[in-house]
Amino acid sequence: MDLSLNETQKLIQDATKDFVRGACSREILVKLDRNKNVDVMATYWKQMSEMGWTGMAIPEQYGGSGNSLLDVAVLFEELGTGPVPGPLFSSAVLCARILLETGSEAQKKALLPDIASGKRVFALAFTEVQYGWSEDSIRMKAKKEGADYVLSGTKLFVDDAEYASDLLVVAGIEGGAGVSLFRVDAKAKGVSIRKLEGFMTAKSEVIFDNVKVSGSDLVGAAGGAWAGLDKGMLAAIPVLCAYKVGGCKKVFDISIAYAGERKQFGQVIGRFSRVQDHLINLVNHLDAARWTTYEALWKLDSGQDAASSVHIAKAVSSESYLNACDYGHEVHAGIGVVREYGLTLYTKMSRSLYHSLGAPKYHRKRLEKELKLVA
């Protein structure tokens, strides 16, 4: 057993740390968060693709660098410390892994190199008005018209759609069972993407109004996409979890530093046992998220059955990120809720990502099956 990072991973970690310190300093991220006119993509997408990050989760034969999921997770843990927003996860990890599992050889050859270069940005249009991440939450239906399809309906709270050039749309086909996947041009006639405002990051309403999709853009078998889609999602989830681990870590770092500086009653607040309790709770959440996440990654990379571990990691890290932020706020008290200070960036992200790719409740239900408690 060896739970340390290897040399490559340490290099990735250092490079990402530099990036977060420079291009994504807290001042810049607060500005991105508060100012609707600042463009996330213009700020750093080019830099990210030049660093090769858009190709890390993609095999070499499709234009990527074929890194392990663990390598990718190390990158995302550091991005999570920003927290750096943007579609890198949605496009270069989630959609890339789904395409790898479901696409034809021709589709992979056509699409994955563009994702790897950062030219195309993919987002997964899965969730609908009756929000959920299981196969049976998909109610949208495509209509077959000759060799082509027509899509109509609403996808809701779609992560990163606002940045997308291409959408991977999950829908059934009228008259058939199961779900299918369609690649749709985000600018296609009949597609409208509207960013939703609130205490969340980069979620959109995506409306399809009689959108024509060519038969060649059906990804995977008609009605038979679920297995590959699920496999792709299960591989990507721990990378998202690592991003949350990074968030927890930064909240912990900020909080422990603050508790060592801030004085009240003539002493630093970190000496008060009540403040220590908050920090202890915080670090417990951080470590629970970290180790469940990294074991799941190890299982995936080494080709073991990882399903249970992935469900555990997602259930734990969603809850942990939420709670870590709460404890961070307890430690900071007033200053922590000042937008300019930056702690609320994490708080907002923790809420925003709580349900993405399945809330803890969904993953506990999946775990019930893995544990053979239900059929």
Binding site: R34, V129, Q130, Y131, L156, F157, L196, E197, G198, F199, M200, K203, E205, K263, Q264, F265, G266, F272, R274, V275, L322, C325, D326, H329, E330, A333, G334, G336, V337, V338, R339, E340, T344, T347, R351, S352, Y354, H355, A359, P360, K361
Partner: protein, 409 residues
């Protein structure tokens, strides 16, 4: 024992009178507003108008003495008044008035007869809005560690320093503030309270953007400000409770702020959310899901415990009974309970709980606001840790002498 707010025949009449009054006095558009931080000026002015109308009847601070603009109203009648306002999504006072809510009782207990007449009457009649100024950059939990000074100079005090976390949007006519009057004096024996006219020269108010405003939604909190004082001259007659006696006066102020008087209009968002879950929206009802129903029930239970602590405190304080840890206990429960409830709402409603979008947000965004407010309201008044410290002292844990609750009358 009787928990019912039973209306006697006179009270039934009173309820009718209140309802009839509110029907004519409350203008459209100010009830059930969501995000107090984003209240436009016009909305604030309408609320102030309503405050003046309520004040003219002695209903703005109804439990306060008649001679200073209150009504000497009994606890049951105050409940009726609160009840009727809650029903239309308003609170008493219908705008942010922290200096009135906390300064009022303090001046009542510690002021001279002349001061009570002069300072309380305009507050209780709704003629002025008053902010409270306690915290500073270096003094939050450690209130006694403040640095803003007020030095006597003839008939005036000259004030210099900086206060933080002040007030709301749209300004205030007055501020009720704690200052150091003896910079060389012993801790706790160097402080005083003073009423400040906010139009005096040398005062600068700088707004600051916060996540939310912290539990003052119903009363229209608005943003928070930093206030700078540069040689501001305040008439000496505005110092209340005696020079260097401010720590004693603070016990009354903080007792109210820490929930000692209870609060009857609590977190109406809970009931509204449950209604929302029951109804069909966008083709489905959240309550169709049995897991969601269980969460809703748990959330409701937490809300009930919070409510009952508030009702108990209201009863204790309005019937003038001895109190101990109850104020801090309610405050603590309300802070942690609200955060817990907001997070349950997130689990129950999914990302819907996070949006203000016109088309998709439940309750016009009230749930999104509550997500932010649940976190923010952990801090105002005093943190959860400090509430625990107070509870322990008042219970006399470890055989210590029990600390007394602050005087309210």
């Amino acid at each position: 024992m009787d928990f019912a707010i039973e209306d006697s025949p006179e009270q039934t009449e009173f309820r009718k009178e209140v309802r009839a009054f509110l029907e004519t006095a409350v203008p459209p558009g100010i009830t059930h507003t969501v995000d107090a931080a984003n209240q436009p000026r016009e909305q604030y002015e309408l609320r102030r108008d309503l405050g003046r109308k309520l004040g003219a009847k002695g209903w703005l601070y109804p439990h306060m003495p008649k001679e200073y603009g209150g009504s000497d109203m009994s606890s049951d009648e105050v409940m009726i008044l609160n009840d009727e306002l809650t029903r239309i999504g308003l609170a008493l006072p219908p705008y942010y008035d922290s200096g009135g809510r906390m300064g009022g009782p303090s001046i009542l207990v510690w002021g001279t007869e002349e001061q009570k007449k002069r300072l309380l009457t305009p507050i209780f009649r709704g003629e002025v809005r008053t902010w409270q100024l306690l915290s500073e950059p270096g003094a939050g939990s450690d209130l006694a560690g403040i640095k803003t000074t007020a030095i006597r100079d003839g008939d005036h005090y000259v004030v210099n320093g900086q206060k933080m976390w002040v007030g709301s949007a749209h300004g205030a006519e007055r501020s009720w503030m704690i200052v150091v009057t003896d910079p060389k004096g012993e801790r706790h024996k160097n402080l005083s309270w003073i009423m400040v006219d906010m139009s005096l020269p040398g005062i600068t108010v700088t707004p600051m953007e916060t996540l939310a405003t912290g539990g003052e939604g119903g009363a229209g909190g608005g943003c928070k400000n930093t206030v700078f004082f540069d040689n501001v001259r305040i008439p000496a007659e505005n110092l209340v409770g005696g020079e260097n006696n401010g720590w004693k006066v603070a016990t009354t102020h903080l007792e109210v702020e820490h929930g000692g008087t209870g609060r009857l209009q609590d977190r109406r968002v809970i009931g509204e959310f449950i209604d929302y879950c029951r109804e069909k929206h966008n083709g489905f009802a959240i309550a169709d899901d049995p897991d969601a129903r269980e969460q809703i029930a748990e959330m409701f239970i937490e809300g009930e415990v919070m409510r009952l602590f508030a009702v108990r405190n209201h009863w204790l304080s309005h019937t003038n009974q001895p109190r101990s840890y109850e104020g801090a206990q309610y405050s603590l429960r309300r802070k942690l309970g609200s955060l817990d409830i907001s997070e349950r709402m997130l689990r129950i409603a999914g990302p819907y709980a996070l949006t203000t979008d016109e088309r998709w947000a439940p309750l016009q965004g009230a749930i999104e606001y509550f997500q932010r407010d649940g976190i923010t309201s952990l801090h105002p008044g005093a943190t959860t840790d400090i509430q625990k410290v107070i509870m322990a002292r008042r219970m006399g844990t470890g055989g210590r002498e029990r600390e007394q609750a602050g005087k309210l009358r």
